[in-house]
Amino acid sequence: MNAQLLSTRPEVRRGSRGAANPFEGQHRRRLLRADLLTVLFWASLAGAVALWLADGGAAGFSTLAGAFTALGIVAGLAGMDLVLLMLLLAARIPLIDRTVGHDRALEFHRKLGKPALYLLLAHGILIAIGYGMAEGLDPVSESVALWVLVPDMWLAYISMLLFIAVVVTSLVAVRRRFPYEFWYAVHLLTYAAVLTALPHQFSVGGLFAEGTWQRWYWLALCIATGAALLYYRVVQPLAATFRHQLTVKRVVQVSPGVVSIEMSGLRLDLLAGSGGRFFIWRFLAPGLWWQPHPFSLSAEPLQFDAAGQGVLRITVRNLGRGSAQLASLKPGTKVAVEGPYGLFSTAARSRKHVVMVGAGIGITPIRALLESTPFQPGNATVILRGHSESELYLGAEILELCRQRGATLFHLTGSRPAGVRTWLPENSARAGHRLASFDPKIAEADVYVCGPAAWAQNVLEDARDAGVREEQLHYERFDW
C-alpha cells in the first residue's frame, strides 16, 4: 500500500483540453530574457577585449615581450569582467532571479570562479614575463621590482592572494571541511579582493588612464556592480524588514524534529503568490540573529484584512545546529527578512499540466505551490516521498488541498532498494514504476522537484527519460 491513489480523479472538463496554454506568453518571455542574459554575458566579455583593441592594444603583438604583456592585459581585463559578473550573479537582482532562479544564478556564479582565478593568475604571470623580457629581467625579479617600485602594485599582490583564498575555500571538497560561517567570512573577503585590485588598474594600467573613455566604462561598470550589491543585498532587505514588521506568532510541532513557525506581519498582500519561493530569515534573538536561514514558505501568506495584515508560515526540520535552535523560538521574536527569491513558483510555469514531486522536508514548498499555482481539476499530480507516513510532512493539508483543487496525490513510502539508482521506494521500483507511471501526461507537464540533491537528480533523470524537456523541469536545491 505504498502507492495509493487518495483522490478520485475528477472528470476533466472537455472544454479545457483544447484550451490555449495560459502560460505560453510568460514562458516565451522568460526564455527571451534568458537568451538576452546569455548574450549580455558574452557581450560584456567581448566588450572588455574590444575596448582594449579600440585602444590600439593589438599593436603590442609586434614584439615577443609585447605579446606576453598584451596577452597578460587581455587576461586581466577578462578576469576582472568575470569577477564583476560573478558579483552581479550573487547580487540577487530580480531580473536574473525571475529568469533563471536564484540557485541557477549561484550555480553559474560557482562555475565562473575557477576561470576567473585562472585568468587573473595568467594576467600576473604573463605581465611579469612580458615586462621582464622588455627589461632583461627574469619574471621573478620583475615581480619583485613591480612590488617594490610601482605604486599600488603591492595592493594588487594582496588582491591576488585574496582571490586565491576565496576560490580555494569555495571549492566543494574544501568547503565541506569548514563550517558554513567560516566559508561565509572568507567569501566576504571577495569585496576586499576587488577593492585592492582596483587601484593598480587605474594608476598603472595604461588602458584606464585619465582622459580615456575606457576609464569611464570600467569605472561605471565597477560602480554599477557595487550599487547593485548595496541596493539588492542591503537596502531592499532592510526595507522589507521594516515594511513587513514580522514577529514570531507561534511555533507548532508538525512531527518529531519538524516545526512550523508562524509569523504575523504587515503588508503581506505584497507577498501574494510567493508560496514555495524562499526567503532568508534572521530571527532577532540572542545567539540567533546573525544566522541567515534560507527557508521556503510552506503556505501562501494568509491575509486577514485589506491592509495586508496576516500570517506567514515556514516549516523547518532540525537539519543543522542553527535549525535545532529554531524549535525553541519565543513568540514575539522580531524577524528580519530578505526575499522572496527563487523560481519555485507559478512564474516558472510553461504548461497547463503540472506534476509536483517532493521528498522529506522538500514537501513543504510543494504544499505552498499546490495551494497557489493555477490548474484545471485533473491537470495536476502530486507525489510525496518519505521513509514513513510520518515523514510526509503536512500530509493532511496536502490531501485536503488535492481534494479541493482536483489534483491526484500519491504517497510513496519506504526505504529505497540497495545498489540501485532510483528515487522510488523498494517495492515500487521492483514493480517497475517510473515517473510516467504516475502521470501519463508527464511529457506535456511542468515538473517541480524539491528534495535531497541525489534523490532529486534521480527524479529529474526519470523525467528526462519520459520526454520532459529541460525548460519544463523546475528544481530547487535546499541542502546547500
Binding site: F41, G47, V49
Partner: protein, 175 residues
C-alpha cells in the same frame, strides 16, 4: 532556444570585437597623427606597432627639443636684458618604460616652460601615456612653480620620473 541564445551571443560578440578592432586601427592612426601634429610630418602610416612607436616618439621629442632650443637661443640673443631666459636640463631618469629627461626654461627666477627631452617610449602604450601625461604635468608645474605636484593617475611611473628629472633641473637652476 539555446541555439538562438548561442547564435545571437556569438554574433554580438563578434560584432563588438570587430568594431573594437576597427577603431583600434583608427586610434593608432590618429594617435600618431596627433603626436606629430606639432611637426609637419603628415600622413604617418602607423601600420605596425613599432612604426607607430618610433614615429610618435620621434615627433614628440623632436618638437619639444626644437621648441625649447629656439626660445633659449632667442634669450641668448637678447643678451643681458632683464628678460634673459636660461634653460637647464634635468637628470636622465631610467624607468621600466624608457628614460625620461626634462628641460626647464627659467626667466627672472620663474619657470616659464618645461619641455620633455625624452619620455617613456618602451612601447606604443607608453608613448600614448607619455603624450597624455606630459602636457598635464607641464601645466601643473608651471602653475605650482615647483616639482611638488600630483602625479597623473594612469601614468604614475612616467610622472615620477618626470618630476625627479624636473627636480634635478630646478636644483641646477638654484630655484
Amino acid at each position: 532556444m539555446r541555439t538562438r541564445a548561442a547564435v545571437s551571443a556569438a554574433l554580438a560578440s563578434a560584432g563588438i570585437l570587430i568594431a573594437g578592432w576597427q577603431s583600434g586601427i583608427h586610434v593608432a592612426d590618429t594617435g600618431s597623427a596627433v603626436a606629430s601634429a606639432a611637426t609637419d610630418t603628415t600622413g604617418t602610416t602607423g601600420s605596425t606597432g613599432s612604426g607607430g612607436t618610433s614615429g610618435s616618439t620621434g615627433s614628440s621629442s623632436s618638437s619639444g627639443t626644437s621648441g625649447s632650443s629656439g626660445s633659449s637661443s632667442a634669450g641668448g640673443a637678447t643678451g643681458a636684458s632683464a628678460k634673459a631666459a636660461a634653460t637647464y636640463d634635468g637628470a636622465v631618469v631610467q624607468t621600466r618604460f624608457g628614460s625620461v629627461q626634462v628641460q626647464i626654461t627659467v626667466q627672472a627666477g620663474k619657470i616659464t616652460d618645461v619641455t620633455a627631452l625624452q619620455l617613456t617610449d618602451a612601447e606604443r602604450k607608453s608613448v600614448q601615456i607619455s603624450n597624455r601625461a606630459a602636457p598635464l604635468l607641464r601645466d601643473e608645474v608651471l602653475s605650482a612653480q615647483s616639482a611638488d605636484v600630483q602625479t597623473i593617475s594612469g601614468a604614475t611611473v612616467t610622472s615620477d620620473a618626470y618630476l625627479n628629472s624636473l627636480q634635478a633641473a630646478l636644483d641646477a637652476a638654484n630655484l
